[in-house]
């Protein structure tokens, strides 16, 4: 079995806090990729900026640690240049929902066959504790001393409203169930979006392991093909449902690209179509 454990010198010193949910997500991701018998050279992790977005340095796979908020369009570019790659875009709640909010919306619409993993700890980690788009109302931070007043973003409802092809929420504190969701997300053909609840042990003293245990439950007897039921579940709060909310099949971005209609050659192996060029010169 292939290993996704990195032996590069830069992978040794991991800069996450002890107890951080990122460790669990990394372990789950490495196990899933290995279980799926993928080869590290055929997997590309494209991350934004933040604590979560450091992931490519701690896994043995292709990786591009890019810019804050921009992982989704960059990952889309990677996938559409070589559809045979397994492409995963990864980042935190600030990365994907604030700076990258527009790309998130349009990534759902474009439906590239990539997986989006959002480590949602409801706070900014790397910049030390400011509010994120999913921070709960009332939470006080150094930057929001009077407490957060903005309505928290509901990424799952947004995704279901956008008719995204795979929408799920997992929780880093429950590795087995999270692993199964990630497995299905990676196998899903189309844009698969997983919001992963994850405690931030340094900067979020409200949404702790204990809090998540008390305020979440796993979906049971839920019809994943029913968009309205999914939306209803996505609007539920305290407790927040976990699991796969909605999935359905539709044509992917790559399948819609005319350049791949009769020719699956990745772009790196294509050369000038001289005949077509000469027609227009």
């Amino acid at each position: 079995m292939n290993t996704f454990v990195s032996t590069r010198p830069g992978s040794k010193d991991i800069s996450w806090c002890p107890g951080c949910g990122n460790f669990a997500i990394r372990n789950v991701l490495m196990e899933v990729l290995a279980d799926l018998e993928l080869d590290p050279v055929d997997v590309a992790l494209i991350s934004g900026i933040g604590q979560a977005a450091k992931m490519p340095h701690y896994i043995q796979a292709n990786g591009f640690h890019t810019l804050h908020g921009r992982a989704i369009p960059i990952a889309t570019g990677v996938k559409s240049a070589n559809p045979s790659l397994t492409v995963i875009a990864e980042g935190g709640d600030g990365d994907m929902y604030a700076e990258g909010g527009n790309h998130f919306l349009h990534g759902l619409r474009r439906n590239a066959d990539i997986t989006l993993l959002v480590h949602n700890n409801q706070v900014y980690g790397l910049t030390k504790g400011q509010a994120s788009p999913t921070t709960m109302i009332g939470m006080k931070t150094p930057a929001q001393p009077e407490g957060v007043f903005e309505e928290p973003l509901n990424p799952l409802a947004l995704a279901i409203a956008s008719n995204a092809s795979f929408v799920a929420r997992a929780y880093s504190g429950q590795a087995d169930k999270t692993k199964e969701i990630l497995r299905q997300a990676i196998l899903h053909r189309g844009f698969s979006f997983v919001d992963i609840f994850q405690p931030c042990v340094s900067f979020n003293k409200i949404n702790t392991y204990d809090w998540y245990e008390k305020n979440t439950y796993w979906l049971k007897d839920h019809d994943q093909g029913n968009r309205e039921a999914a939306l209803q579940k996505a609007l539920e709060a305290f407790p927040f449902p976990l699991g796969i909310f909605y999935q359905h099949q539709k044509k992917t971005f790559e399948e819609n690209i005319v350049a791949y209609r009769d020719d699956q050659t990745p772009l790196s192996q294509r050369r000038v179509n001289v005949e077509a060029l000469h027609k227009y010169l």
């Binding site: 050279v41 590309a44 043995q60 810019l67 989704i72 960059i74 570019g77 045979s84 005319v258 010169l281």
Partner: protein
């Protein structure tokens, strides 16, 4: 017989001047004329004033002339708008009411009332009447016109086609009656192509192996994207309109990272949004090719007009320091070949390469000798990776062999953070110094490959004129027309890095004047910085319009 003739057609948006151009340029080209056509249009969908200038000549003449030999005005506003381009010799053509209203000052000119509303019948499509009239003026074979119309608009239905043919005929009949406008033909139509700047850039990209184009619509840069989008299947190219320029630039970087040859096309405002990605390309050493078609800023500025105001933007785009290359083609041939070259340079040196054009350049049509390329000019630099591949291996020349995901045994780690040789983030003191040095080393090699500027004019010049990008043909013609015999002209089609040995041109001159279309003389400023022993004066225009040949000639006489 005339050597060349400047035809100006003015009307409002919605009167079909675009269609007229689409029809008449190929017809005139096939009839054996050389052509140059430029657009002066307003940023609106209906109304306003749109002016098309078509220069018809027996030999290659691509300067933008002010004086109009024939002025066809389809609206009062257009007449007023272009009145400064009329002379006592200009032949005026237009609906009788417009000529009557505007005619007082021009009563000595030859004027011809254009009839497009026959009594008791439906008004004819005015753009078709004018197309017929132009064909009549030049005594073209009517069947050429009829065939072209059928092939271009045949799918609009028989009724429409018949109406168009009738209008063309009515116009032709009126044009035929106007004498003295015959222009010599060069008669090598088959050997020549007709295209505009957007097409030259797009086809240059195809020739350079471009197979990925991401964009967000923005005038005047959209033409390149539309041209390629409509031929994406034929060219085997991924073309996608992204949600914004940030995403378009990001997708382009992702595509290069995975082995594509990608391009983005945008204008100043969109380019500003791409700067963060350009910086990422600089740090991650991901190649990029960016086409920037300039228009006047700041902000929205004049969306459909022209300017060379973004040189400094491109020169300094992106935070941090990293090598880059800037091309600014002066002709369509150059646009084609430099765009092709941009892909090979970007691939070889893993740097962003910019192609700087402007509205005047991308929207202007010209006939040119058939372009040659078969892809054998291209060089590809991607390597198969070995286990423990180091994306940022420290090498003597600064270029690390470029691997891509899925090709070889190694994994490829790219990074926008400072990194070690593998690509993993580091803050190591030694590496933090060696990595920027490695990146900047590429600049030395790139400078050695810089294009030498093109020279024309008198070898023993006293006054050296300098221009860059789109002003080439107009400046060149002005030098040719000027009565002075002490002028030399240097045209730069590469603006960065500059070649080192330019002082030999500068030292011969008593006076150096840099012609450019911006407010502050940006290129003059750049030259001043790098060649401080000389003084660079400026000749500037910045009202959103391209220099006229006559305008430069006049300024040259006064030097």
């Amino acid at each position: 017989m005339m050597m060349d003739m400047n035809l100006i057609i003015g009307g409002e948006a919605g009167q079909g001047l675009n269609t007229l151009e689409t029809l008449m340029l190929p017809v005139l080209k096939e009839a054996g004329f050389h052509l140059f056509a430029a657009k002066d249009i307003m940023s609106r969908i209906r109304g306003g004033v749109n002016i098309v200038t078509i220069r018809v000549a027996g030999q290659e003449k691509n300067g933008y002339r002010k004086k109009s030999d024939v002025f066809i005005s389809l609206s009062n506003e257009a007449f007023a708008w272009a009145e400064n381009r009329l002379t006592a010799e200009t032949i005026l053509i237009g609906p009788a009411d417009i000529l009557d209203k505007r005619g007082a000052k021009w009563h000595n000119n030859r004027t011809y009332a254009l009839e497009s509303k026959p009594q008791g019948a439906e008004p004819m499509p005015i753009n078709m009447v004018v197309s017929g009239l132009i064909s009549g003026l030049f005594r073209l074979d009517f069947s050429l016109l009829a065939e072209k119309t059928a092939s271009l608009f045949g799918d609009k239905g028989e009724k429409r086609l018949a109406a168009n043919q009738a209008a063309l005929k009515a116009g032709y009949f009126q044009g035929e009656k106007i004498d003295g406008l015959e222009v010599e033909r060069c008669l090598d139509a088959g050997e020549r192509s007709l295209m505009n700047g957007s097409q030259a850039i797009a086809l240059g990209a195809v020739a350079g192996g471009c197979n990925f184009l991401s964009f967000y619509p923005m005038s005047p840069a959209t033409g390149v994207a539309i041209y390629l989008a409509q031929r994406a299947g034929e060219f085997g190219m991924v073309v996608e309109q992204y949600e914004d320029e940030i995403a378009a630039a990001g997708a382009s970087i992702g595509a290069w990272y995975a082995g594509a040859r990608a391009m983005v096309t945008t204008s100043g405002g969109g380019f500003a949004l791409m700067e963060e990605s350009i910086s990422l390309a600089g740090m991650s050493e991901t190649p990029m090719v960016l086409h920037l078609a300039q228009r006047p800023g700041p902000a929205t500025g004049l969306p459909t007009r022209t300017m060379q105001g973004d040189l400094n933007l491109v020169l300094h785009a992106g935070h941090g320091e990293f090598p880059r290359v800037i091309f600014a083609p002066g002709t369509l041939e150059e646009a084609f070949h430099l765009t092709q070259k941009a892909f090979n340079l970007a691939d070889k040196y893993q740097v962003p390469v910019f192609i700087l054009t402007d509205q005047f350049f991308v929207d202007s049509y010209t006939c040119l000798p058939r372009l040659q390329a078969d892809g054998s000019e291209n060089t590809y630099h991607v390597v198969a990776t070995e286990s423990y591949y180091r994306r940022y291996e420290l090498t003597t020349g600064g270029v690390s062999p470029q691997g891509i995901p899925g090709h070889g045994d190694g994994v490829v780690i790219a990074n926008g953070n400072e990194h070690d040789e593998y690509g993993d983030t580091t803050e190591d003191e030694q590496l933090s110094q060696r990595m920027p040095e490695k990146r900047m080393k590429k600049m030395e090699v790139l400078a050695g490959e810089s294009l030498v500027p093109g020279f024309c004019g008198h070898k023993e010049y006293k006054i050296l004129l300098i221009c860059w990008g789109s002003t080439y043909s107009t400046a060149r013609e002005a030098v040719e027309l000027s009565s002075r015999d002490d002028l030399g002209l240097l045209h730069f089609s590469q603006l960065w890095p500059l070649p080192a040995d330019l002082d030999r041109y500068f030292q011969k001159a008593d006076k150096i004047v840099v012609i450019e279309e911006n407010v502050t003389g940006q290129f003059a400023g750049l030259l001043q910085q790098f060649f401080p022993g000389n003084y660079f004066e400026s000749m500037l225009k910045y009202n959103g319009r391209h220099f006229y040949v006559e305008e430069i000639v006049e300024k040259l006489e006064a030097l």
